[in-house]
Subunit: 407 residues, 2 copies
């Protein structure tokens, strides 16, 4: 049910940001980037609210990143969210004090909402793994033998995680045509998106100390939309034997608002049935999937519709696996879910799958597309649908610029 | 030729730290970690020297990490090194002012010398790649087809890079015996070292802006010894298709002193001959290899002797490749060279190779060893030999503790 706010735009049934959501971002209007909370079509200046003594916290909203609050853990998160809900609820006594701290979202430039410590990308959609495996290795070896046992993942590059709206240069790299004797070097010709969710680690874990899935779940602060831009031609030539590297290193875009685990809790669902039993360290006794509708657009034309519940492994399972060897996890670690593809061709989360390796062009407003051309804009959207309201993520968008000249 | 210092221990022919070296570390004697420079068996308190106005810098030595100086670039590095050389040279006028700032190295506890931004591990020794490829994939597929064209690498985990002397817990993880139907979960049974060099990025590069090998060379601040601890049984089961993950995530040890590129310059050598021409973006027109003798010990018994010049790809080439897609590189990025193995069995850089997959135990003082047992101490050492002096790295050591109980 909608929690009504005195911010009227937050009560619209199609806003991404009702009082039920309260996602955390970092915004800038004229100079200084600061912490903010989305409410309807406004942003609450959280730094200002904290300074004014309204949030009951100290020094959690004064950086241009939410990491200080993220590190505080679930009790602090719950108290902060409860206080924000009080301040913004219909009939709140605090309205007079809070109203001057609201700024129009339309005027804000958004920044990364947190400092990314490290970025890991998983591979947790069975349909995606099967599709890509079929194209890269053939139908007989599509799903790797470990896939039903391990939430397969690889470490990605944190230095190029950027906020939605950041332009992305077409990457340059080595590729090799099947018939060629030697590789060549030049701009990527099979540039792709990957429609993913990003889970954000709040509380850290120590080196040498694995965590259970229940502990992992409590460590997760929230989620963003994530586009793991991918250079398929570079990937095909480089990825054996040590995994994707430059094919994924040039950019990863995330949506600007961290939707908290608390806001998504009403939309928790059970994970998919298991074909093979999981090892005990990966089992969960709580619903760890989420019913979140997702879509992708190219130049404003929808090209895919899928759902976060398609993930075979949840962020809690991925995080427990990530820490299982004794790997220390940090505040600000970002875990990409892996491309989320559904069972049918309209629900695939990458152009590689949507065009089946470039063989079946998409019709983008009369213009055929296989992979991304310079100037194309790709946008992800997502929301969980409640009764008369939605908890939305906003958009995760990026436009491709021509490749750089090599120095 | 030895540059003589008024610190007498720095003039011994077997010290790792003559005036020619001047490596940067972070040390602690009674409470506070601070920047220091090794000279003979002493450490110059660089934070104190800077505060006393002796270094000609401001705010470059006041953190417990060398990142501020690292970010300043080659001109600042050269000026700082020249000033240190002046201060510590035989006959220096500054002796009286500097002497009270020297502390005995034997009393210091060392910390990580810099804040690791991200960690990438390469695979640049041909003998190692061939040996491992033979064991994991068979002799026919030993060297991957891209290996002679790409400095193959993967992103590692920065959160578990630790300084020499830090104990390491045996990792836990999934493994699958060849004959088993399903994987099991438990302590690693094939725990290994990887004898590597780590190159440290000083000056950063921007997203979307590749760099040449000449530019990359100028970005490199210095080198450390690096032990990329590896869980071979976990690796074998997890590494396809996206590369090593938990098998390498639990710990990476580095030596405490950053030996600068300037200190190693007299030992630069040409890289190995190329079997196939490199693409132009990887070519170098300067000697980018180094003649650095390396060794590994288990419990004080030498098990390997090799040399940094065995690397097929240099750090400059690896860094240029790393940035080639447009990947932004950061001050504090750590690039592992990959295991450095020579051509013969006494020069292999891992137990996997030294024992040929565990088939040929080593004799460690009468005790047979294939992989690492709890309580074993593994140590790497390295130095470049000059005429009457050496530029050394000190030791990179770690002791293995029993696996944690799973929570």
């Amino acid at each position: 049910m909608l929690n009504r706010s005195w911010v009227e735009s937050a009560n619209a049934p199609d806003t991404d940001f009702p009082l039920n959501n309260l996602p955390y971002g970092v915004f800038e209007i004229g100079g200084e980037a600061r912490c903010g909370v989305a409410i309807g079509d406004m942003i609450l200046d959280a730094a200002g609210a904290e300074k004014a003594g309204l949030t009951g916290t100290e020094g959690r909203c004064q950086d241009a990143a939410w990491n200080p609050l993220m590190a505080d853990g679930p009790k602090a998160w719950a108290a902060f969210r409860a206080r924000l809900t009080e301040l913004l609820a219909e009939g709140s006594d605090a309205r007079k004090a809070v109203e001057p701290l609201l700024v129009p979202m339309a005027e804000a430039r958004m920044h990364l909402p947190f400092t990314v410590a490290e970025y890991t990308d998983f591979y947790a959609s069975r349909h995606h793994a099967t599709n890509v495996g079929t194209m890269f290795r053939g139908a007989d070896n599509a799903l790797p033998p470990n896939w039903l046992h391990i939430p397969i993942g690889y470490n990605g590059r944190a230095s190029t995680v950027v906020v939605s709206g950041t332009d992305v240069r077409r990457p340059v790299g080595q590729t090799k045509a099947k018939e060629a004797d030697a590789p060549s070097f030049g701009p990527c010709r099979r540039l792709d998106i990957e429609l993913e969710m990003g889970a954000i680690v709040g509380t850290p874990s120590a080196m040498g100390e694995p965590v259970t899935t229940a502990q992992a779940q409590e460590m997760i602060f929230g989620y963003v939309l994530l586009n793991d831009w991918s250079a398929r031609d570079i990937q095909a030539w480089e990825y054996q034997p040590l995994g994707p590297f430059q094919a994924k290193a040039f950019a990863t875009s995330i949506s600007p608002w961290i939707v908290t685990r608390a806001a998504l809790a009403p939309f928790a669902v059970d994970g998919p049935p298991r074909e093979k039993d999981l090892l005990p360290y990966l089992e969960t006794d709580f619903p760890d999937g989420y019913d979140v509708s997702l879509s992708a657009e190219m130049n404003g034309h929808e090209i895919s519709r899928t759902n976060m519940r398609e993930l075979y492994y949840s962020a809690a399972q991925q995080l427990a696996h990530h820490a299982s060897s004794g790997c220390a996890m940090r505040t600000g670690d970002l875990l990409g879910s892996g491309t989320i593809s559904g069972p049918d061709a309209s629900s695939y989360g990458s152009l590689l799958e949507l065009t089946w390796g470039g063989e079946r062009p998409l019709d983008i407003g009369g213009s055929p597309r296989t992979f991304i051309e310079d100037g194309d804009t790709l946008t992800l959207r997502g929301h969980a649908q409640g009764d008369g309201y939605r908890v939305g993520f906003g958009a995760c968008t990026g436009t491709i610029l021509p490749a750089p000249d090599f120095p």
